[in-house]
């Protein structure tokens, strides 16, 4: 009877240990996921920033590409890539990036998996909130807002996407 009691005690210890082991394993797994996710976040931010920085070098609107100065915002054109479609090399002004999508391979993932997906939205927005929801593609203002969204399975732990926005204003000196 003494032997059986010791076996029961040992089994009890095993059950307790199993619970500890499960917790420890969960902790290790969480750590690993967080490591990968933080690297993926860094990559996603850089991808989004690259697009924003590239768009910053382009003129504000198709109307200003040749250096023309608008009399007011009504001279500006509808936001969108026009005939360029998704051909980023063809874009020559800031709002051409509207609707642009791309997928990227990175060093973090296996080649050919294109694990990072990027999409861009550009709209005319208005003060005081400058929010995209009340923005418009067709009603020009002096403000354009770009929102770059990067999604990836590597960012899914918290169902999280990386979203960067950039507000651009057209400056014109009044005479």
């Amino acid at each position: 009877m003494v032997g059986i009691s010791e076996v029961i005690q040992t089994l009890g210890a095993m059950i307790i240990f199993s619970l500890i082991l499960l917790t420890a394993n969960r902790m290790i797994q969480t750590n690993t996921l967080k490591e990968v996710e933080s690297e993926a976040e860094g990559i996603a931010v850089e991808l989004a920033q690259s697009i924003i920085e590239e768009a910053q070098t382009k003129p504000f609107d198709a109307f200003t590409v040749d250096g023309s100065i608008p009399k007011d915002s009504t001279d500006f054109t509808t936001a969108g890539p026009g005939s360029c479609g998704n051909d980023r090399g063809c874009y020559d002004d800031f709002d051409d990036y509207d609707g642009y999508t791309d997928s990227f391979d990175t060093e973090l993932t296996d080649p050919g998996t294109f694990a990072f997906n990027l999409s861009v939205q550009v709209s005319y927005v208005s003060p005081p909130n400058y929010d995209m929801a009340s923005g418009s593609k067709t009603v020009p203002t002096m403000f354009k807002k770009m929102v770059v969204t990067v999604t990836s399975d590597y960012l899914r732990n918290n169902n999280q996407d990386i979203r960067l926005s950039y507000l651009r204003r057209y400056y014109k000196r009044d005479n």
Binding site: V2, G3, I4, S5, E6, V7, Q9, T10, L11, A13, M14, F17, I20, L21, A24, N25, M27, I28, N31, T32, E35, S38, E39, G42, I43, E46, L47, Q49, S50, E53, E54, Q56, T57, R88, G89, C90, T106, E107, L108
Partner: protein, 195 residues
């Protein structure tokens, strides 16, 4: 001896082995986490330097620099920029020297990345195992590196691919191991190269 006691000895032996394995796992995970954090910190340090220098290509306070890029290859770029914003253009060079291995640690693949500003050279020996520069014109067509002098003015975008690894191997049970790798990639669009 009682069968029950023998059984409990066996079970507790298994339990001890499991505890040992768990300790090893936690220790391994902790080492990996620490090494990855250190590596990520190193990547951030180099990335900050790159992000400080590259957007300023061709920039000069109150004026512009014509033809700021003088050398553009896959592992070297030399350009002029008013890096200190003091009104005078300096010469900045980034060079990944694959003939200069870093003699710290056991990683055989890391080489020295040099950042030189007006002749003052800084050797980055954090474990850079890959540093690749790609160049694009305004239509985002790739310009083959090394870029010939007649095409240097066409450069509008510069893509930097950087990979850094830990100096030491993260050992694994059963021998062997791996170096922790952290990639970084960014395409710069220096404003002063726009037109």
């Amino acid at each position: 001896m009682d069968t029950g006691i023998i059984t409990s000895f066996v079970v507790s032996g298994i339990l001890l082995l499991a505890i040992l394995a768990m300790n090893l796992n936690i220790s391994q995970s902790s080492s990996e986490l620490t090494m990855r954090q250190v590596n990520q910190q190193n990547v951030n340090t180099v990335a900050e330097l790159l992000s400080y220098d590259f957007p300023k290509i061709g920039y000069k306070q109150l004026s512009a620099i014509n033809n700021p890029i003088s050398v553009a290859t896959a592992n070297r770029i030399r350009f002029q920029a008013d890096i200190d914003n003091n009104g005078s253009a300096g010469v900045v060079e980034w060079f990944y020297d694959t003939s200069s291995p870093v003699n710290k640690g056991s990683n055989p693949d890391d080489y020295i990345l040099y950042r030189t500003v007006d002749g003052n050279q800084m050797a980055l020996t954090f474990g850079v195992t890959s540093f690749n520069l790609s160049y694009f014109d305004e239509d985002r067509n790739a310009i083959t590196a090394p870029v010939s002098s007649s095409n240097l003015d066409d450069i509008r975008f510069i893509q930097v691919n950087l990979t850094m690894e830990t100096r030491e191997l993260l050992g694994q049970r059963g021998g062997g191991g791996e170096y922790i790798t952290s990639p970084w990639q960014k395409t710069f669009a220096p404003k002063n190269l726009s037109n």
